[in-house]
Each structure stands twice: as structure tokens, then as C-alpha cells.
Amino acid sequence: MSGLLNLDRRTVARARSLAKKAGAPVVKLAKAHSTVSVERSVLRLAGLTGADIEGTPWVNHLVDQVRADVGLELGVALPVWHTMRREGITDLQLLAQKAVAGSVSFALPEGKDVDRAANAARKAVGRGMARIDRNRIQRDKLITKYPNPSTPWIYLIVATGDIDEDVPQAIAAAREGADVIAVIRSTGQSLLDFVPEGATHEGFAGTYATQENFRIMRAALDEVSIELGRYVRLTNYASGLCMPEIATLAGLERLDMMLNDSMYGILFRDINPIRTFVDQRFSRQIHARAGIIINTGEDNYLTTADAVEAAHTVTVSQLLNEYFAKEAGLENWQLGLGHAFEITPELPDSFRLELAHALLARELFPDAPLKWMPPTKHMTGDIFRGYLLDGFFNLVGAMTGQGILLVGMMTEAVVTPWISDRDLALQNVRYVMNAAGGLREDFRPAPDGLIVTRAHTVLDEAIDLLERIVDDTLLDAIGDGTFGLMKRPADKGRGLDGVVVKADGYVNPASELLEGQPA
């Protein structure tokens, strides 16, 4: 810890232990449930791909059919592999087709058949997991050959809706200096309870996350990585109703970073809290195994709540995200905890307050990369003023050692970035890093100054809030509108019907592998 803020170690430890206390009941809840998307992930790991002519994936058909016949309380693995053996079917897709046609119905195994089915499932799922493991090794090799860029990594967004347009844009962005390419998803994908199939060309303000789109983009970036002599990372979004499946596909196709927040879907997409926490835990376990860096979404709170008043909710969420991440097996280097430059520029000392908040995050999580998000709320369309704001945002990034810097566009809220917007934005980043990148070495906030005092206040407020959450329980706190001002009760929200309580004898070969041998 660099210790510029002189944070009391006991206070920091107290904050962490409160986060654990608040999070532990949720983990217990997550362990006691499964969801349709977790079960579909098992089938995806076992190699089931494709969709019927209407675009409904076979994994959805199979899970729905199993649920209709025998329920999902014991997981999808036992009835599927038992029925395959009983019917003499060796191909999952054929089984799904037959199930849809009504020529196969599912039954639960009994006696020795239980182990037989479980073992067959383990073998099949193990192959998918091995592919994720190979991808991780392959990434490590590539990073040895084409080294990591210096920090902060420059993160640029591509969002055309058409994977064939995304590829040249991503290549251009990488050549212009992007270290991380994020392909924004189509509006509304988070609310789809299935993952679309194949290469797609018709997204709204973004491109659908599909396995084939992942593969196409990763292959393109592999080529450009060789050309540029540095490994260009690919990011997508493991969020929404299909979070576990998208995490799985990311592992299978060697994506490098995934947006993956413990509460975003609940708060901003009105997805049921229990569904989210169950899906979260599984997706994070996959990310841990795959060596994927997660990006959390605390920046979003500040787009709805006031960035000064709500600063401590960011800290609380970071601590919770850290707890849930560690519990799922992620390591510090994989925690791109989010925060943002969203204080109103009209407020006196806004820059000093931003510095205080960013430094607090840096010192609370010294070994995490941290994801630094640019201003959006106070980008008014005055592009000239916006360019200056982005410069100050970059300066805070430089002075507080942020690991991942999402490049701010002066045309935020005006247009999707033009080629010139991106070029100007990158010039802004380069100028600041070049001019002031080393400033961190000289920068010592006064011990009793505004920055240090403010950071201590935010941490104290965060602890107060965590204490209230512990008393109230996290689920109730979310229900009461503690985060981002949104009230999300545990028995409401989308996707609740896809949650099942696990029964004794539940088998999930993926979870066994993920929990049995931590990466």
C-alpha cells in the first residue's frame, strides 16, 4: 500500500470483514439454488451448440424439456446423461431434437445408474473445461511472446451491431493504440433468456454476444496482436439473464475480460436478485478458471445518484464485489473494480474530490487493476468542454495508477464515436500520460488536506452503510433502494421463474470441477 491517505489498517480490515458478513448469506443462498442458465452452461461445456430454425438454442430446448419432465432440482446432468444411455443416444443435439419432437422423455436415474449418469456427464463437461484451461495457457503463452502494454491499458469500445463491421473497426482501434477492445452488446440482450447463435449483423446500438461472434473477433485480434507486437485483449459482457452461459462461451473462445458485476442486473435491468446472485457465482467461478479479468459496474451508480453523496456506495459495492469475487476463486489481478469521474464540474474542488475517491479505491485495493470510467453524466453536448473534462479524467487516472482506462469521448451523448472522436480522445490520453504519467511519484496530498480528509470520510460512510446492510441483510438493502436509488425486492424481477432450489443429490459436473480444483 502506497499509504498516501494514511488509512488505518484496522478500519480497512473492518470494512472487509463487514463486506464478508454482508455477502456470506448471499453466497449461502447462491449455493442452495441453481438456474436454467447455469444448467444450460453445463450443456454448453459438454459441447452442445446450435439452435433450431427459429433460433432457439438446443441448450434451451433440452433444459426446458428436462424441467417439464422431471424438474431441475437435481440438475440437468443426471436426467440428460441417464436418458442418453437408456435411449442409446450419444449426441446431445440429437437428444435435444428428439426431446422437442416428443420422441424422448426424461427420467431420473436410480441406484447404480446415478453414478453412471454422473460419470458420463463429468467426462463430457470435463472436455469443455479442458478447452477453457488450454485457452488460458494459450493466452499466457501469447502474453510472454507479445508482452502486456504498460498501464493504464487503453480500453476502447466498438459498437456497430454487425460483427463484419466490428472487425475492421476493432483492428483500426487496436492500431490506433487500444490495448483492450470491448464489443458492446445489442440493447436488450441482457433480458433475453437465451444466447443467440452464429455470426450476427443486426444489433441495436451494439452487437449480440454469441459464441461465433466471440470467435471471429478473437481471431481478428490475434492477428493484429502479432502485427503490433502486443497482446490486444477482448472484452464482452457477462451480464443479464444468460450471464453464466456468456461467461462459459468467453472461456471457450478465449476472451480476456468480462464486465461482470454482482448487482448491476438487479439494479439496472430489474433482474431478480436471487437469479442474479446464483448466476453471478457460477460465472465468476468460470472467469476465475479461465484467467479472465472481470470489470465491475460501480460507475453506473454514479450515473443515477449524485457522485459526491453516493461516493461511499461505490466503495461498499467494490468491497462486496471483491468479497464475491474472492469467494468464487478470482485473484486480485483479476479484479477490475469499477469507479468513475462523475462529479458535477460546477462543484468547487470537484477535481480534488475525484482525486480523493480514486485514490481511496487505489489504496483499498492495491493489487487490483481498477477500471476507471470517464465522465458521461456531465457531458452536455459541448464537445469542447467535454474534451477538457476528459483531460482531467485522464489526469486523475495518471495520478492514481488506474489499471484500465476507458477512453472518454468528447461526443459522449451526441453520436456514437466518429473516427476523429476516437483519434482526438487517444491524443488526449497520450498527452496526459506523456506529460504527467510520472506525477504519481511527486504527488503527496497534505495529511490534513481536503483529499485525505475526504477519503477518510467516504470510507467511514462506507463502513456505516455496511453496518446497516449487515443488520438489514443485503437482500433487504437492495430491496430498499440502497444502491443507485433503485428498489429491487428479492421476490420480484425478471428471471425468477428460472431459479430452482437444489435438492439432495443435485449433480453439476461443472461446479464440481470449478470448486474442486481452484485455478
Binding site: 492500431r175 430489474d270 451523448a413 483519434d423 482526438l424 425478471r494
Partner: protein, 252 residues
């Protein structure tokens, strides 16, 4: 405004100088020809004389320009036409304040995509807190209670939900227009609401979608139609203009 100002030109540092700045990118490698091309474009835009003050290559195939110059067009202020909306556009704060003062309870909005339409993009952009075009959706308004039923909601279910929630307004989004399904669905909806509610308690019926003609309100029996590019603030402002009895907003 005085009579002499009825015709104006852009103002740089002297009245009538006509000075403007523009920036643009041409898909040309940066060389003398590209700069000449930028000047040609500026002249065609009416900027003459034009000065390329900055030209920068962006990769091998593009050049970015900043051009200054005097534009020879005149603005005739008298001929400026503005389409006024028939309600004032309010901020979320103003909307919330108006509801608080006028209704003294939250304004209840029930939203859905009806029929087989699964495209919730529109309704979510208006309702979800995430919002659209930098504006927060209606869920963000502290004085609005939003029930978003999501996609593929049947008309009877919508009516039931509106009754149960005591909806002040029903928002319905339709994207799919195959065989005019959007029009059929809306007519089915308005018929059902006429049957289920007496006129004085019937919620305001608002529909939206990219293919509706905003002038078809009477024909479809709805109160308002919103087209492409509608933002949450448009909808919120409209709702309070119709549902909140006028209070003196000048009062401070």
C-alpha cells in the same frame, strides 16, 4: 429584437464577419490534394474564403481537418419556423415536483409490449432507469411508480395489471409491423380498455414505436403516439401535462 437584426450572419469577432469553424474527416491520405479537397468542400458549404487551420492524418487512409472561414449564407430570422410541442418539456425534478403538488401520490405507469412482439428495446428505453440518449427512464422519477410487464403481454393481462395497479397511464410499445400487427394489437387494446374502464377512470393510453404515424391517435383510439427518437423526458412531460391538474408553476 430590432428590425435591423432580421437578417444575421455568424459572429466571430466583428458584426457581419460570417465566421464559422467546422471539422470533418475525409477518406483520403493526408497530402496536398487532401487539403485541396477540404477547401473545395468548405467552399461548397458556402465558406469562402476558407482556411484549413489543421490537417492531421488518422491512419493511412483518413485525414482530419479543422477549417475556419466566412460563410456567405444569410439567416432570415423572420422565416425561421419552429414546431412547438403542445406541452412543456420538463426535467425529472420538475416532473416529480408537479406530481407531488398536484396528485399528492405517485403517478402509476404500466408498460408492456403486447401481442407476440418481443422487442422490449423501446419500452425499456423509456421505462428502465438506464434510459435512452443520456436520459434516465421513468423508473428514475421518484414520483412515478412503474410496472414494466415486459414482452409478449396479452391484452387481457395488460388490462388486469392496469386495474390492479390503478394505472394512471398505460404505455405500449410495438416494433413488429408484419401484416400491420401493430395496428391490430393497438385496436384490440383500446377496445378492451373501453370495455373494462368507464371513461372517467380509464388510464391514459400511450403507444410508441418506430412505424406509427403520430397523427393516427383518433383512428386508433389512443391518447398519444410517440415515434422514433422519443426520449423518457418527452413521455414524462406529456404524462404530467395531461394527468396533473395545472398548478401555478411560476410560484417559487
Amino acid at each position: 429584437m430590432s428590425e435591423s437584426k432580421r437578417i444575421v450572419r455568424p459572429y466571430g469577432d466583428a458584426t457581419g464577419d460570417g465566421m464559422v469553424q467546422v471539422s470533418f474527416t475525409l477518406p483520403l491520405p493526408h497530402d496536398k490534394r487532401a487539403e485541396g479537397a477540404a477547401l473545395q468542400l468548405a467552399r461548397k458549404m458556402g465558406i469562402d474564403p476558407a482556411l484549413v487551420v489543421h490537417a492531421k492524418p488518422m491512419g493511412p487512409n483518413f485525414t482530419f481537418f479543422i477549417v475556419y472561414g466566412s460563410v456567405n449564407h444569410l439567416v432570415e430570422v423572420d422565416k425561421v419556423q419552429v414546431v412547438e410541442r403542445d406541452y412543456p418539456l420538463l426535467t425529472p425534478k420538475e416532473v416529480d415536483a408537479l406530481i407531488k403538488v398536484s396528485l399528492r401520490r405517485p403517478l402509476v405507469v404500466v408498460g408492456a409490449c403486447i401481442g407476440t412482439d418481443a422487442h422490449t428495446v423501446g419500452i425499456d428505453a423509456i421505462l428502465n432507469i438506464k434510459g435512452f440518449a443520456g436520459e434516465k427512464g421513468l423508473e428514475y422519477y421518484s414520483q412515478m411508480q412503474v410496472v414494466n410487464l415486459g414482452a409478449q403481454v396479452s391484452v387481457p393481462h395488460l388490462v388486469e395489471a392496469a386495474l390492479e395497479a390503478k394505472a394512471d397511464a398505460v404505455l405500449v410499445s410495438q416494433v413488429v409491423t408484419q401484416r400491420d400487427s401493430h395496428l391490430h394489437n393497438v385496436r384490440e387494446m383500446t377496445a378492451a380498455f373501453r370495455e373494462a374502464f368507464p371513461a372517467n377512470t380509464r388510464p391514459l393510453q400511450v403507444i410508441g414505436g418506430p412505424r406509427f404515424d403520430e397523427a393516427m391517435t383518433d383512428e386508433l383510439g389512443v391518447d398519444r403516439i410517440f415515434g422514433r427518437g422519443t426520449t423518457p423526458a418527452d413521455v414524462a412531460s406529456y404524462l404530467v401535462s395531461r394527468l396533473c391538474p395545472q398548478v401555478d408553476t411560476d410560484e417559487k
